[in-house]
């Protein structure tokens, strides 16, 4: 192979200013983490609302929930980001569209909201399955105690459902982190984007992608370790996962 290896390239100053190539990758990592956290919060809130709607006795609510999930699940994430980023400002009234286009950090907000809503459909499905897996008696007992539907969800069904679906939620969170890489297409310089930029500046393809790969593996490891601890702490006694 006539490829010129140079592992010291990480310590050379990058042409973007502000430190070495390693700093460039780390700033990408920071942006990846920030974006995934914002997207995750959006996904969790929206997904919970839609997931609960799908289990409500009201036919209208469950139909709306169903339509929401199908809409966000059946389009590629890349295309959804394009719709938010390129199409939405054109469809709004002129003033609002102009404001949206001139927003600083537009790729960041677009990525957080776009990925958040994309993931929310999947979280909604998980939560629906979690609520569905509870014995019927739980809801009935809550009703018999005189709790309203809101109270039954808040005090009985949701606390149980969230604890049951924690393991799949971990993998959804990992997917969220991985999905932030798609935002490279709307110009967000997160980890993959920075590795790509570094490769273009230095021509050291394999070094930069190896570094990005290692960082992703490390992030995965940290998330999995933290979540396993959390899963053990909140596991429901009497279930297979519990003690």
């Amino acid at each position: 192979m006539n490829y010129h290896w140079n592992w010291l390239v990480f310590f050379e100053p990058s042409p973007t200013g502000g430190g070495s190539y390693l700093d460039m990758l780390l700033s990408g990592l920071l942006l990846t983490i920030e974006t995934s956290f914002c997207a995750w919060i959006i996904a969790l809130i929206t997904g919970s609302i839609v997931g609960v709607m799908r289990t409500l006795p009201s036919k209208t609510a469950s139909t709306i929930g169903f339509a929401y999930v199908e809409l966000f699940r059946n389009m590629p994430l890349l295309l959804q980001l394009f719709l938010w980023f390129f199409v939405l400002p054109e469809l709004l009234p002129r003033q609002a569209g102009l404001w949206l286009k001139q927003l600083p950090n537009a790729p960041f907000y677009t990525a957080a909201i776009g990925i958040g809503l994309f993931m929310s459909a999947r979280i909604a499905e998980q939560l629906r399955a979690g609520i569905g897996s509870l014995p019927r008696g739980q809801k009935m007992a809550a009703t018999a105690l005189g709790l309203t539907t809101t109270q039954a969800y808040a005090y009985v069904l949701l606390p149980m459902a969230y604890r049951i679906i924690l393991p799949p939620l971990t993998s959804e969170f990992l997917s969220t982190i991985k999905n932030t890489a798609v935002a490279i297409t709307i110009g967000l310089l997160e980890l993959t984007g920075q590795a790509r930029a570094m490769q273009e500046f230095t021509f050291q393809v394999f070094e930069s992608f190896t570094a990005a790969t290692m960082i992703y593996l490390l992030v995965n490891l940290v998330v999995v370790t933290v979540m396993r601890t959390l899963e053990r702490a909140v596991a429901i006694p009497g279930y297979i996962a519990g003690k």
């Binding site: 006539n2 295309l79 199409v87 490279i184 992703y216």
Partner: protein, 230 residues
């Protein structure tokens, strides 16, 4: 809202969108799903085999692929495949690989990891008595897998495999990052040339939605029909 729309741009580019773009997307999806299934099954068999080095290697591969973003994997293979080609053929410089071959290899390798997890679950869902009975009949390991275990595992997992193929169909749009012209890429090119991104992206969104939605409804019906009565 729609007064400035030029729907004619879609009509004008229909042939290009579908014959160039959609054909690429569908061929890539079908071939990557098939290749991914073949390699995924092999990886699953490696993981479940009692031979420790094989199962460790397969496990490492699957976990590595599943913890990386697809975009990064696409970049990796885009730059790596020419060097692998050089190494395989013993050429003096990196081999030039076409856009289709490069993305096909990427998606086969990436999807193999996901398909292998599905096949592993499928194989593990089969009761122990089946391979034992096969062994008692004098079948070899290869025959047991080919005639007894894998057909049942495949049948049980068919809905999940198809769902994963729908995900794959949507994920192929990510070849955009290395400027390969798939369905979305073709729409982007036309949209940028004519300054009609809004119309093109909305049209592409509707097409993707219709295809994925009808495919997943089909899978759901199949699931109901395939369910084995036990």
């Amino acid at each position: 809202m729609f007064e400035n729309f030029d729907f004619d741009v879609i009509r004008r580019s229909l042939a290009y969108l579908f014959f160039d773009g959609m054909r690429f997307t569908l061929t890539l999806t079908a071939m990557a799903a098939f290749g991914g299934l073949v390699f995924g099954t092999l990886i699953a068999l490696m993981r479940l085999s009692g031979i420790r080095p094989l199962s460790v290697v397969a496990g490492l591969y699957v976990n590595l692929m599943r913890s990386l973003p697809l975009v990064l994997v696409i970049f990796w293979f885009y730059f790596l495949v020419p060097y692998i080609g050089q190494w395989l053929t013993g050429a003096s410089r990196p081999v030039k690989v076409g856009a289709f071959a490069s993305s096909l290899i990427t998606f086969i390798m990436f999807e193999a990891a996901y398909f292998s997890e599905i096949m592993r679950a499928g194989i593990q869902s089969i009761s122990k008595g089946q391979p034992m009975a096969a062994q008692a009949l004098g079948l070899t390991y290869g025959q047991t897998m080919r005639y007894v275990v894998l057909p049942q595992a495949f049948r049980n997992m068919l809905p999940v495999l198809l769902t994963q193929t729908i995900v794959l169909f949507q994920d192929t749009s990510l070849v955009y990052v290395v400027s390969i012209t798939d369905f979305l890429g073709a729409a982007s090119i036309v949209g940028q040339r004519d300054g009609r991104l809004v119309e093109m992206y909305l049209f592409v969104a509707i097409i993707y939605f219709l295809i994925s939605c009808s495919a997943s409804f089909g899978v759901r019906r199949l699931q109901a029909r395939l369910a084995v009565v036990r």
